[in-house]
Amino acid sequence: MLYFSNLKIFSVLAVIIITLLFAVPNFFGKDQLETFPNFFPKQQVNLGLDLQGGSHLLLEVDTEEIIKERVENLNADVRRVLKKNNLNYSNFKVSNESLKFIVEGFNSEIQKEISELSMSNSQNILAMGDQTNLIITQEENTVQINFTEEFIKQSVSNAVAQSLEIVRRRIDELGTREPSIQRQGSSRIIIQLPGIDDPDRIKSLLGQTAKLTFQLVDTSVNFDPFNPSKAPIGSEILASDADEEFKYIVKKRIMVGGENLVDAQPGFDPQTNEPIVSFRFDRIGATKFGRVTQQNVGKPFAIVLDNKVISAPVIREAILGGSGQISGGFDSEEANDLAILLRAGALPAPLIILEERSVGPDLGADSIEAGQFAAIIGFIAVIIFMIFVYRYFGLLADIALIINLFMVLGVLSLFQATLTLPGIAGIILTIGMAVDANVLIFERVKEEIRNGSNMMNAVENGYKRALSTILDANITTLIAAIILFFMASGPVRGFSITLAIGIFTSVFTAFTFTRLLISFNAKRLKPNFVGLSKNA
């Protein structure tokens, strides 16, 4: 057991040296690393947001809103078909996910017509082939229409994917450093923003759906903006963005929507020097806008953002060039943000912030400092204690412990795992627990000596007998670490990572490195080396 073939010695040392090499970059600054030769690893440990400072946001796409919108569209489609076929319906009920009404003369022809219309209107949502997206059930004259579960699922999934893309664009526009934007589960988005500890601006950017529309103002009725009466059919009452109390009556039909914009830039009005956002339509948008403005010269139209009227200028002449500008009393940052929002596009549904965790750079730096100091003190205490108890063997265990610590750091750098504050705690805990494998072995060795073995046999048997105990004992801790890894996220997950790495490196060093050290000195070993008095 104490004999190591050269190949074995070589491979053990190779593993250790390579892992240690990966730890080295952490002790140098980024500039110094530049000067290292190319073959040298340069990856440093990835610090978690709690250590480097930054912001973590968990968002959820408001899926109810998406389903509501789908049902609303279906509602319009169904009514149109019924009207077209001159069917009189009554008791029309719109619930969360279905429509229900009573009608006479509803037949499979009409059913087919509804299905086809609904399908053609949702073509862009999903490619389902000939499959229908509706379930229509009829009981005498009562008809109920539901979306298929598959369709709802697809709509939500599409909306989340689309939201992810728009969130990414909006954040990229702000020029943040290495943001990470990931989908989590079916309807959530995790955003990690290193270096940002006050994410107010980002939160406000993400808090708007930024649905921009151009709608004509309904001038057919006289009304008091501060006390509006009911809007006529086909129109709606919308509040002004600047003054909640001031209302407009706006035609529901959308002239052009934000999806037809190709560019938006902040700027200043040359005459008034007021911040504005200038925009450009794509070809379709330009044509539509040109046509409507031509027909409505002299009438006002409303620029509506998220159901609020930003401004309602009067059309002086047909706008055919496909570009225009929005002024609405913003300051320059507001104009800038609006331009970002318009360029990035509208969210398909509102985003709700479920969780926010932001750490300032000071606290992160303090945590690293405190963690390092605690590690060094704990480390020294353990080293002294081990020598006190096991003498020479304790020293060997200490050397292994040092190697161990650097190996944990090396493995963390190699796999680019994230080191967090609880992760540092995990490393410190590893310092305490790493010696366990060696302790188990040394205790066995002592016991063998006490039972009359000579030193060589004692060491050999000690290793043999301790093996299964060490494995059992470490597997239990490893199980806990693995469960923690899957259950936790963020900082706590970092703890499970360092704990697990620590278990592997400590078992590895105990069985290879310490043993190697002992085997080199095997002939010179004496019982007091393991902390036994000579006459024991």
Binding site: G207, L429, V435, I479
Partner: protein, 308 residues
């Protein structure tokens, strides 16, 4: 020189006393759980937490009174490590996830106008009702899964008697750890769940070492009285149990004293857990085997221990 080898302490003799002690502690823990309950942090209760650092010392009660006029419900202000570091906690607002976000701005504005010193916002955490509910659930599930996984693992490696004994000791440790948080009313948050899971692993580790020796001795001394055999096994492994506990505690104490405020609760739980876990391996897990009718006829050629 420290030498705890070759001890012959009669641990089993005091088993009645330690069992009663454990029973009392468990009873107290469960009692405190129902009387005091856990002092959940925002991870599990939802709400807002803001840590600030000011350039001058702040009179806390004045600030607290000021923040409590904001109609945000209960606002707590406490010192955090030093008198210039303050922790502000605002309870969860009614009205769902969206509303929670407004709290940060309201508190920040109010602090800005009330305090005349520079304010450094060191940490801001907002946890909405949806997430906090999920975190409680997944935390509880994780602990159950961990204990169950240990049960299966020990069953697989040993015998059901060992498995039952080890898990009873484990449940003992988890209850006492949760109990100490109910009694001290220290904040119970996500890292504490991590600490409990680690305690589960650590305590199991300790128990497995003792059980391993019990199994070995069962094969070695076939006719030895079970009480003597358990005593022998505990004594055989006592030195290791103590050395490992001490090194772990040394590292944890260093972390507790020097590691900063943020992880103090976590370290406290770990220190407590290591002490309780060590105690339970010696005084609960091992003595329990006496009552569990362990098998004496181990198959000596079993693959479990190939060294014999």
């Amino acid at each position: 020189m420290l030498n705890i080898s070759g001890t012959q302490i009669n641990f089993l003799k005091v088993r009645v006393i330690t069992f009663i002690l454990s029973a009392i502690l468990i009873f107290l823990s469960i009692g405190a759980f129902f009387v005091n309950g856990l002092n959940f942090g925002i991870d599990f209760k939802g709400g807002t937490l803001i840590e600030i650092e000011t350039s001058q010392e702040i009179e806390i009660s004045g600030l607290r009174d000021n923040l409590n006029t904001l109609e945000l419900g209960d606002v707590q202000v406490q010192e955090f490590g030093s008198s210039k570091n303050l922790l502000i906690r605002v309870e969860q607002q009614l009205g769902g996830d969206q509303v929670q976000q407004d709290v940060v701005q309201i508190v920040k504005d109010s602090l800005g106008s009330y305090l005349s010193t520079d304010i450094n916002f060191r940490r801001t955490e907002v946890v909405g009702p949806k997430v906090s509910g999920e975190l409680i659930q997944s935390g509880a599930i994780a602990i159950f899964v961990a204990v169950f996984a240990m049960l299966v693992y020990i069953w697989f490696r040993f015998e059901w008697q060992f498995s039952l004994g080890a898990v009873l000791a484990l449940v003992h440790d988890v209850i006492l750890t949760i109990g100490v948080f109910c009694i001290t009313q220290l904040e119970f948050n996500l890292p504490i769940i991590a600490a409990i899971l680690t305690i589960v692993g650590y305590s199991m580790n300790d128990t497995v070492v003792v059980y391993d020796r019990v199994r070995e001795n069962l094969r070695k001394y076939r006719s030895k009285e079970i009480t003597d055999l358990l005593n022998l096994s505990i004594n055989d492994t006592l030195s290791r149990t103590i050395v490992t506990s001490v090194t772990t505690l040394l590292a944890l104490l260093s972390l507790f004293i020097f590691g900063g405020e943020v992880i103090k609760g976590f370290t406290f739980a770990m220190i407590w857990g290591v002490i309780v876990g060590t105690y339970s391996s010696i005084f609960v897990a091992a003595p329990l085997l006496r009552y569990l009718d362990v098998k004496r006829e181990w198959n000596t050629t079993s693959a479990v221990d190939s060294t014999r």
